[in-house]
Every structure is written in structure tokens, then in C-alpha cells.
């Protein structure tokens, strides 16, 4: 499109992009650009994204075209997951392909107007010819966003036992250093029924020729919560409803007596049945006036807290994990957790999770998902979550 470079650059130097990629190295570039745009600089300060340029009568039609172009580019940016949210808007991308067929200058201007993700790079030593090259991080980002739908569908098609075994294996081998990996194991061990956990361990044997317990014990042996994790993962709990109030009181007192000693708590968490544990947590809350998780925050040990939360109120825990995926600055594992939770719980306790989410965050889960995801990924999630 001839002329009006200021309008083109106005599309994407927006506050919105800056907020989404907080902390991202690309964002630093964007932040610098936003900052410089506030101070006096040679480049003219770009107007906010959605505002139209000031209309002057003689240039009205030109401005209209520019505005339409700006809208199109913003739409494409959002479709490419450039404005936040998970997944990509496949239909919008395909329609842009069609509309801009045989118009490479439109694509070029889109790239120029997307400075955080495309940057000018000289192609020859003389620097005479430059192209807008794609930042490596943006390529990685796009790969992740495009593959969200694929990952969801592959996981959905798998047997639940195999899913759990693969998540556990990845948490141990790929994300070992990440603090969230212990939490994934705790989630698998504590929110699955005894038969489901046993099935996952069977699938682990079949897939990796090792037992899950031996891998957890070996890979996490240096960490402080190795004993707890091995115990949780190896548990084969009694599934009946029998609860002994006396035992619950005795164990609540034993836990209170030694708040820093995790051995008692680890033993209780790894062996007792879930109804029995809930009774113990309830009695603890009655004795101390606050839930056990709060006391554990002071003592430290995030795995213990997660275990107690998963065993006591799994729906609430899952609601928080989902909300964590939508937060600004959520990292890769937090975003991947959305797929994991929805796929694994859609046929289990999704209704309870929806209720817990509304209670915690005041908004319906389907609305939050629709707002924060795009394209086929969004549609698949909504289909799994249900009305």
C-alpha cells in the first residue's frame, strides 16, 4: 500500500502486546520502543492500536483505506497469537492467505508493522538490502501455539493410562529442573483413583520398561521431597468410604505436634484413603482454625502443599491451575497445564471444576476459555468442557 508508514506502524506498537509478553526478551524490545515512543525521538509517537487517525476532509478516503488495512493487520496479528491468548486462529489465517494472494507488499507491510517479532536484517555486508527476519523466539512461540490443538487431540485419543504415564515421564526427564515437574507428579498421584494410578504405572512399565517408582526415586533422589513423591506415586489406597473419626483426630494431632516434621505427614498422605484424609484435614481445620495448606506455606515444601490441596479439594486445585494458564506472564508449563487439565478431567469431574472456578474467580470457565484461547484449540476446549 503506498505511503502512510506511520499508520502501518501504528497497528502493532501497542500497549496490548507489551502487557502480554512481559518479561519476554522480545518484550524488552517492545518496552523500549514504547518508552522511546513516549519520549521525544526521531520517529513519530505511534497512536494507540484501535484509534483511527485524525480525519481531514481531503484525505478521508485515504485514511479509510489505511484504517481498514490497520484492522486487517491487527486481525492477522491476533490470529498469529501476537496479542496474547493460547492457540492460533486458523480460519482467520487462511482467509488472510486468500485475501492477500499475489500481494506480497501487504505481507511485507504486515511484517514491518510487527516490530517485536520481525526485525530488519541486512542481507549483504553492504547493508543495502534488508529483509524483515523473523525472531527465533517468535518462531518457537508460533510452533508452540500452532501445536496446542495437535497436542490436545493426540492426548484425547490416547488411553488415559498412557496419557498419565507420558506426562509423568516427561515431568521426570524433560522438565526435571523445573519446579512444576514435582507438582505434575503430585497431581497425577493424588487426583487419580487407585485403579487409574495403578493403570498409569502399568502403562509406564509397558512404555518405558521401568517402574514409575524407580524412576521417581532415582531422578529425584537429591531433592528433599523424594520420599513423599515415591510414597504418593506408589500408593494403592483403599477406595471405600470407611472413615474413623478417632484415627483422623489422632493423626491431625500428630501432624500438629510436629509442624516442621514432614515424615509424619508424608506417611499419612501416602497411605490413608482419601475420605480418611479429608476427615483428618477437616479436624485439623477445626483444631487450628485454618487449613493445613496455610500452615505448610510457612514450613515450606511446595509439594506437600500441592499434595494436601489435591487430596482435599481437587476441583478447586484444577480451577487454580486453569486460571494460572491465563495469567499474564504464565510460563510454558503453566500454559500446557490447560490442555492437561481439560483433557484429563473432562470425563471425570469437569462439572465440579466449573463450579469451583466460578466460586474462585467470579467468571464462568467457558467464558474465560473463550476469551483467552483461539481457533480450533478454543473450540476443542469448549467442546470438552461442555456448556
Amino acid at each position: 500500500m503506498p505511503g502512510c508508514p506511520e499508520c502501518v506502524s501504528a497497528c502493532v506498537c501497542s500497549d496490548q502486546i507489551w502487557l502480554v509478553y512481559k518479561g519476554h526478551p522480545m518484550q524488552q524490545f517492545l518496552a523500549a520502543q514504547a518508552a522511546s515512543s513516549n519520549s521525544s525521538s526521531p520517529a513519530p509517537p505511534p497512536p494507540p492500536l484501535r484509534s483511527r487517525p485524525t480525519r481531514r476532509e481531503p484525505q478521508q478516503s485515504v485514511n479509510k483505506e489505511a484504517a481498514a488495512m490497520a484492522d486487517e493487520q491487527q486481525e492477522l496479528t491476533r490470529a498469529f497469537s501476537g496479542l496474547g491468548g493460547l492457540g492460533v486462529e486458523e480460519t482467520a489465517l487462511v482467509s488472510a492467505l486468500g485475501r492477500w494472494r499475489k500481494q506480497p507488499e501487504k505481507r511485507a507491510s504486515f511484517r514491518r508493522g510487527f516490530p517485536g517479532f520481525f526485525s530488519p536484517a541486512p542481507t549483504a555486508s553492504g547493508g543495502a538490502i534488508t529483509i524483515e527476519r523473523c525472531e527465533d523466539e517468535y518462531v518457537r512461540h508460533l510452533k508452540t501455539e500452532f501445536s496446542r490443538f495437535k497436542n490436545l487431540m493426540v492426548l484425547w485419543a490416547m488411553h488415559p493410562w498412557e496419557r498419565d504415564a507420558r506426562w509423568a515421564h516427561r515431568a521426570l526427564h524433560k522438565h526435571k529442573k523445573h519446579q512444576g515437574s514435582g507438582c505434575i507428579l503430585v497431581e497425577l498421584a493424588c487426583t487419580r483413583s487407585a485403579e487409574e494410578l495403578l493403570g498409569a504405572r502399568r502403562a509406564y512399565h509397558a512404555l518405558y520398561s521401568r517402574s514409575l517408582e524407580e524412576d521417581v526415586a532415582y531422578r529425584l533422589k537429591e531433592t528433599e521431597h523424594a520420599g513423599l513423591l515415591v510414597g504418593l506415586v506408589a500408593a494403592y489406597r483403599y477406595e471405600g468410604a470407611r472413615v474413623s473419626e478417632d484415627l483422623a483426630t489422632e493423626e491431625a494431632n500428630a501432624i500438629s505436634a510436629k509442624p516442621g516434621n514432614n515424615e509424619v505427614l508424608a506417611r499419612v498422605l501416602a497411605t490413608r484413603s482419601k475420605p480418611q484424609l479429608r476427615a483428618t484435614f477437616r479436624i485439623y481445620r477445626e483444631i487450628h482454625g485454618k487449613p493445613l495448606e496455610e500452615d505448610l506455606i510457612a514450613v515450606g515444601g511446595i509439594c506437600l502443599q500441592e499434595a494436601v490441596r489435591c487430596l482435599d479439594a481437587p476441583a478447586k486445585y484444577f480451577g487454580e491451575v486453569i486460571a494460572g494458564a491465563f495469567k499474564e506472564g504464565a510460563d510454558k508449563q503453566a500454559k500446557a497445564a490447560l490442555t492437561r487439565v481439560v483433557v484429563s478431567r473432562s470425563e471425570a469431574d469437569m462439572e465440579e471444576i466449573k463450579e469451583a472456578y466460578v466460586k474462585q474467580h467470579g467468571a464462568k470457565l467457558v467464558d474465560a476459555v473463550a476469551k483467552n484461547t483461539h481457533g480450533h484449540y478454543r473450540d476443542a476446549l469448549l467442546a470438552m468442557i461442555g456448556k
Partner: protein, 312 residues
């Protein structure tokens, strides 16, 4: 392999139940008749006899045997009449009641069974006692190495295959050697030992013990027997409980290495008087269901006889 012999022509369960009732009647019991029936039936046939007896005479065969027989013979026959998995669950439950003396029973059940059989025992335990074996073991064992080891042995669901990692076997043989040496010197570092024994597959452990033997010229059994318990008593100044720890290690390791024949020989050597029919039975029989399972009352009687020291 199983050694039980079943006659060519097997009477129906009802006929067997009638013959048993005839043996119980009158003064005393015709023990030979009881043996000639029950000792020559496999687990499925014995279950049918139990059901037929219950239906016809409206009393539990187990309770009748309890009242008619005495001593070790009574214990043996009562155990024999149970399903193999229920038998082991009952033994494990009795052992948790006096775990200081009876922990070898739990070690034996945890180690001698295949992972699938151990799982069935745990499922039978859930059905019979409305709680899990792990929680009873964890609650009754004293805090420390014994509890960690017993819990690890009982909870684990080992990989059942033959795949072995040679490098890992060598490195873990070294770790075991260090742990035993540290035990001699007074610094206990049993976390690694418990981790290895409690999680690795049997094939992997076999490879590790072979590496230990090749590297140090002596088997782990000998090393632990010679240096383990006594050294612990000397260095820690503990009482017999320290010897227990060594024995547990020894027993554990032996049980993992030995095959079924060695196990039978050891068990029948240990149990003076009555051969243990449960051992061969557990391996010779196929998987059993839980229909016609033994009521809780009968198992409580069995537990009582355990505590009286009738079984060792």
C-alpha cells in the same frame, strides 16, 4: 512347580463336604480323613468345598476346623483352606499386629510374590479389612529404617520384565557396597539401599547382585551376614532391633535372589512340624477370584491363633 496331587476321579464338592462333616462328628476328629480330602484338592476345589459346606450345614468350614483341630495342624489346615491371596492377606494383617516379631512375614509376602500376585494380595486386603496394607504397615511399624523399608517393599509395583541396564547395575552395586561399608563404620546411609531394594525390578536387582559378586568376590548375603547386624550392634550400641535391620536386609536380599525351590527348602526347614502348604500353593495355583471369600470373623480367629504364637 506345584507338588499337590489331585486324585484322578474327584468327588463332587457336596460329597467332600459330607465326608468332612462325618469326620468332625463324634468325639474327636478323624484327622486322617480331613487330610485325605483337603490335602488332595487344589485351591478352586477347596473353595467349592467351602461354599458347599456353608450351604449345606449353615456354618463356616473354617470355624469348624478351628474348633475341631488344635495346634500347628489347626493353623496349617485353616490357612490351607483359604484362597491363596486371602491367606497371604490374613498373614500380613496378623503380622502388622505384632510387627516387631512378625515383620519377616511381610517381607516374605512382599518379595516372594510377583508384582501381579502382590497386587492381588493387596486387593484382597482391601476387601477383607477395609483399609490398605500400606497404611497398616505404616501405622504399626516404628519410625525409622524398618518402616521405610517395609513400606517401600509393600507399596512398590515392580517392572515385571527382563530388561536390565548393565551400567546402572554396576553403579548401584557400588552404592550398595558403600552403604554396607558405612553401616560397618557407624554412619548409616540406608536411604539409597532402601531406594534400590524397594523400587528396582527383580531382573535389575539380580544383575546388581551379580555385579557386586563379580566386583567384590563375595555375595552380598555373606557380607551382610558377617558385617551387618553385629557391626550395627557394636557401633550403634543398639539392642536387638538393630539386628532386626540386618536380618531384614539379609532376608530381603535372599528372598529376591532365590528361586521357588530354594524358598520351599528354607521355609520347610524353618517351620518345624508342619510343612507350609501355602508356599507351594501360592505359585502353583492360578489367579483366584473373591467369590465365596472368607468372612471377617473367621479371619479374626486366625489372627488370634497367630498372636498366640501358634505360627512362626
Amino acid at each position: 512347580m506345584a507338588t499337590i496331587t489331585v486324585p484322578q476321579v474327584i468327588p463332587s464338592p457336596t460329597e467332600d463336604a459330607d465326608a468332612l462333616m462325618k469326620a468332625f462328628q463324634g468325639w474327636g476328629t478323624d484327622e486322617q480323613a480331613v487330610i485325605s480330602i483337603l490335602a488332595y484338592r487344589d485351591a478352586e476345589q477347596r473353595k467349592q468345598i467351602r461354599l458347599a459346606y456353608q450351604e449345606k450345614y449353615d456354618e463356616s468350614l473354617l470355624q469348624r476346623l478351628q474348633s475341631e483341630l488344635t495346634g500347628d495342624f489347626q493353623t496349617a489346615m485353616c490357612h490351607w483352606v483359604l484362597d491363596p491371596v486371602e491367606r497371604q492377606a490374613a498373614m500380613a494383617n496378623a503380622a502388622t499386629k505384632c510387627i516387631h516379631e512378625e515383620y519377616p512375614v511381610i517381607v516374605e509376602i512382599a518379595c516372594a510374590n510377583s508384582p501381579t500376585e502382590l497386587l492381588k494380595v493387596k486387593q484382597a486386603y482391601h476387601a477383607l479389612y477395609k483399609c490398605s496394607l500400606e497404611e497398616d504397615v505404616a501405622a504399626s511399624a516404628p519410625a525409622g529404617n524398618l518402616r521405610s523399608l517395609l513400606l517401600a517393599l509393600v507399596s512398590t509395583y515392580r517392572y515385571d520384565g527382563e530388561e536390565v541396564d548393565g551400567g546402572l547395575a554396576r553403579s548401584e552395586a557400588e552404592l550398595i557396597h558403600e552403604a554396607v561399608k558405612n553401616g560397618e563404620n557407624g554412619t548409616t546411609d540406608d536411604g539409597e539401599l532402601i531406594r534400590i531394594l524397594g523400587t528396582r525390578s527383580k531382573a535389575q536387582l539380580g544383575a546388581t547382585f551379580s555385579c557386586f559378586r563379580d566386583e567384590h568376590g563375595t555375595t552380598l548375603t555373606k557380607v551382610v551376614t558377617q558385617s551387618g547386624p553385629a557391626a550395627w550392634i557394636r557401633s550403634h550400641g543398639l539392642h536387638a532391633r538393630a539386628a532386626d535391620h540386618g536380618e531384614v536386609r539379609l532376608g530381603r536380599q535372599q528372598l529376591l535372589c532365590e528361586g521357588p525351590e530354594e524358598r520351599d527348602a528354607r521355609v520347610s526347614g524353618d517351620r518345624r512340624g508342619q510343612p507350609d502348604p501355602g508356599g507351594g500353593d501360592a505359585r502353583g495355583e492360578g489367579p483366584q477370584g473373591h467369590q465365596g471369600r472368607v468372612p471377617e470373623d473367621d479371619l479374626r480367629c486366625l489372627g488370634a491363633s497367630h498372636r498366640q504364637g501358634d505360627i512362626r
